[in-house]
Symmetry: C2
Subunit: 571 residues, 2 copies
């Protein structure tokens, strides 16, 4: 491809509203343009990367017997009402009426539509399992679209849905899909971690997120060399197996005037914060409750919600705290509450002997409080946030903390949708059974941005070879020089004939401008053809990722081989 | 691909609401399913055909230096207001509001979005020409969605837009695009005609439609062996070059009580209908006018509208006719009108000597009326419908009439959008100029249906090899027979390794059912592996299109070669 024939409007500066490095670089490299908030136009360079990612994903989906389909964007309200999601999805769902005033949404996902197809077409166990997937434009009316294509309102997603006769088959297939997702990330040249995750709005029994590691990632994850990984919300903090040792002393009240936080009281009493029981009042589905956690830990509201099986959980307001504890916020404790309400304790509370707590009385705390003797929680569970001091819940090893970008999410859905929509089949005995489902989504457009967040420098993008829009960028130092031109065209044509996508910069510009665009667009191999080297029968060869290495000189007749072998080794 | 692993729910009967043969067959063959009115799900078999068509189109677009882009489906109202189309498009445009109450449409086409990109990014003549295209889902809120995917509300279209420095370059490129479109139709294995067409709601100076010939087509077209073709609305009826011969007699009035139609008066006066001037009162953009045409011809309202440069043209109501002619409908003529209004005559009126017309007086006609002597039209133009007696306007040869399905439309847009949206560039002299545009659309999903309308029989689809979802269908007569199974798998694997897409029917069904599905799905080559022939080392070979030919027997070791050579010759 000749640069002058390619529509690639590169920019020296990114537009001022670009708020993240991938968005800046994609705009500058002429990969995308913004049409409106959260709506992006993919220009030819960007689309080439997108298609590369799409093809890598398609290969893996076909390998696990996925059947590609293509579904309408407009989905009728009636299907979404069957699962209750027409209401649950709220304002993120784009809704539209046709000329006959019928209601549709612009699909953010396709569980309903797919389950509808399968319940109509699949009647017998002989037709199971079946996995259908599509590459489709998805819509989400984000409250605040940002980060370029990363949090756009229209985006390209591959969504896959599998249907099984029983839990076991669904579980086995989930494992295959999980491996396929790992292959996709690997084949895209990404450094990634699959982590355990909460299931949110899609639902189901468990799920994994696939995280591309990047310091700029929105998500925090923990992982361990043993293979364990989790997003921070889900990371497990198991029950300690240590026994309670030591003499339980008598409870007594201490005057702690104006001291509310654990840190203040800890300093005042000269007791470490791990001797404290922190007491918080929450509202869960409208009912108040008290949650307890060790003084040096924090409550994880996602876990609390899960432990309670609640739809909503949030901190109670000051008045509710006063009604329940009889004191202002800061003096709450599990003893002597004014109302009979549920007490939920984190596992960490179990081990504290002679704990310090609020006295449910302004300016007073209690010391020597002991679980079971002094108060009995209605539930003891894992409801706290993981910390850097925690160990791997699987192997006891050290946990690593890092940031990531979620690009994929696999769900073991179980019966959620098949039950709501009556997706049933006849088994070998002629009995009706519900199908067991899984679903597997990956953000195709988001992978493009995530790859850039993971791999760039101050000069531009550094593409993994696998998804690079071109593999080779030829800088013809002076396009007017016939010798240079001939050599450049010759190398371009030879590489192209070998199926190696090559961009030949044939612009009548200075070499400096060409080098800048070569760096900006991040194409893995740069070949520079200049007058002086050409006289010695040589061209310059440089890898985009080897930022600090000088370009090497390669004899003209060896350059094709050199490119081939470098590309083969970079995958 | 094994049939039992492929999601292909074939049906014995089409759903009762399928209203056209392609819809019926696509539903029966398990290619599509209906989600809601005008919204279809593409299942794996259908999607394979769609992707084949897409790839053929892409190849041709790249060959004429097209640059593939990918544009948002939601397009902001503001852009559509710049061209006035937010209003003009009316109810066919799906409109949607986001959570901030901003207005968008779901794009039915992308002139505005593309022109907006190019006006932002292209500043210099050096960057021209540029052609951008995309494969995108398009939306049209049809008043009556029907004919399956043919007139759907969501459909896949390839739309392309070219931008040029001047008319000449735009004209040259139009020709290239025209050739590319012919290649696309040919490479899809379609019997087609490119025809001249009106430009409708896209606008521009001229256009061609690409028509797939099919008796079930909605459109009527004329064409000639010399290469001329036109849709019926646009078909030219040039001015006759015959001279007016004969003596012009004196006008006289004849009593024609109750005789209103040309046929009635013609029979009564014993004058042929080609001696009549038919006079019709129209409203054009709100103003009345009189249109004249020879008695045996009909007015073509599209041509009349074009000749007048009017936005709307329709027949006047009875009261307006009376106000203008002084008589009831049926007695109108060009002489003695009660009001001074425009008279537009068709070319055919020029040649009539001593014509018969209405007298603008109930129950009376005039004879011996002559143009110029008795009345002077303000405009003489081609405003009539073509007839089977007309000759080719290019070569004078015989015109053929037939029906077709419009699958593509190329437009020479000229300045329409660049003017409205100020898409300008600087020429070599540093002067601002408007870009000259062309646009080129082709219905990807519609091609699939059109191919079926053109090529099917009572048993099912007969795919052109080029777009067939699989090239070979292997019927394993008895899957339980180990020998048959081994042979079937062997042939399947060998063909697949050669890149020949093969569907192996491995179902535990009777051979009859397999033959039926082979015919229904229309796969070009059928190989049948049965017990008896296999003992002789032979398999059955049959082409789907050779309906009445017996299957031939081919030795097992020759079958791969046979398939290869037949496929190569069928393209």
């Amino acid at each position: 491809m000749y640069f002058t024939k390619f529509f690639i409007p590169t920019l020296r500066e990114a537009p001022s509203d670009a708020d993240i490095v991938s968005a800046k670089l994609m705009l500058r490299a002429g990969m995308i343009r913004k049409l409106a908030s959260g709506l992006y136009e993919w220009l030819p360079l960007g689309l080439r990367v997108l298609r590369n990612v799409e093809n890598i994903i398609r290969t893996e989906m076909n390998r696990i017997d996925g059947q590609e389909v293509w579904l309408p964007i407009m989905q009728p309200k009636e299907l979404w009402e069957e699962t209750g999601r027409w209401v649950v999805y709220g304002k993120e769902l784009f809704r539209i009426k046709d000329r006959k005033e019928s209601d549709f949404c612009l699909g953010p996902t396709a569980e309903e539509v797919i389950t509808d197809i399968v319940r109509r077409e699949v009647r017998s166990y002989r037709q199971l399992p079946v996995m259908l997937y599509q590459f489709g434009v998805k819509f989400r009316d984000e409250i605040r679209p940002r980060f370029g294509i990363m949090r756009a309102r229209e985006f390209l997603m591959k969504d896959a849905y599998s249907f099984h006769a029983d839990e076991q088959d669904a579980g086995n297939y989930y494992q295959k899909a999980f491996e396929a997702y790992k292959n996709i990330c690997g084949n895209c040249g990404l450094n990634f971690r699959p982590v355990e995750a909460t299931t949110g709005n899609i639902g189901g029994s468990f799920s994994h997120e696939f995280m591309v590691l990047a310091d700029t990632g929105e998500e925090e994850i923990v992982w361990c060399g043993c293979g364990y990984g989790s997003n921070i919300e889900k990371a497990e903090c198991p029950r300690a197996d240590t026994e309670r040792n030591g003499e339980e002393l008598a409870v007594s009240e201490v005057h702690t005037p104006g001291l509310k936080s654990v840190d203040e009281v800890s300093a005042f009493l000269k007791e470490k914060s791990d001797k404290f029981i922190k007491t918080l009042v929450y509202m869960a589905d409208g009912a108040p409750l008290v949650a307890l956690v060790r003084g040096d830990y924090e409550i994880n509201e996602a876990k609390l919600q899960q432990a309670l099986g609640a739809q909503t959980v949030f901190l109670a307001d000051a008045q509710t705290v006063k009604d329940i504890t009889g004191a202002d916020t800061g003096f709450a404790g599990p003893l002597g509450l004014k109302k009979e309400i549920r007490i939920i304790a984190d596992f960490s509370v179990e081990c504290i002997i002679n704990a310090v707590t609020g006295a449910n009385k302004n300016d007073y705390h209690l010391v020597n409080v002991n679980i079971e003797r002094d108060f009995k929680p209605s539930l003891v569970a894992d409801i706290r946030k993981v910390t850097v001091n925690d160990l791997c819940p699987r192997c006891g090893g050290k946990l690593e903390f890092c940031r990531g970008i979620e690009i994929g999410h696999t769900f073991k859905l179980g019966l959620k949708y098949s039950k709501a929509m009556k997706a049933q089949y006849l088994d070998a005995q002629g009995k009706e059974n519900l199908m067991v489902m899984g679903c597997y989504g990956i953000g195709v457009s988001r992978i493009v941005a995530a790859a850039i967040e993971q791999s760039h420098d101050e000069n531009g993008i550094i593409w993994p070879v696998q998804i690079a829009p071109f593999k080779v960028y030829i800088v013809a130092v002076n396009w007017d020089d016939e010798n240079i031109r001939k050599t450049a065209v010759d190398i371009h044509d030879k590489l192209t004939a070998l199926g190696i996508e090559t961009l030949l910069d044939d612009r009548p510009e200075r070499a400096g401008i060409k080098f800048k665009d070569a760096d900006l667009t991040g194409i893995p191999v740069r070949i520079t053809i200049g007058d002086r080297n050409l006289k010695d029968g040589k061209v310059e060869f440089k890898l985009r990722k080897d930022k600090n290495t000088e370009a090497s000189l390669v004899p003209f007749d060896k350059i094709i081989n050199e490119v081939q072998s470098v590309l083969a080794n970079s995958r």
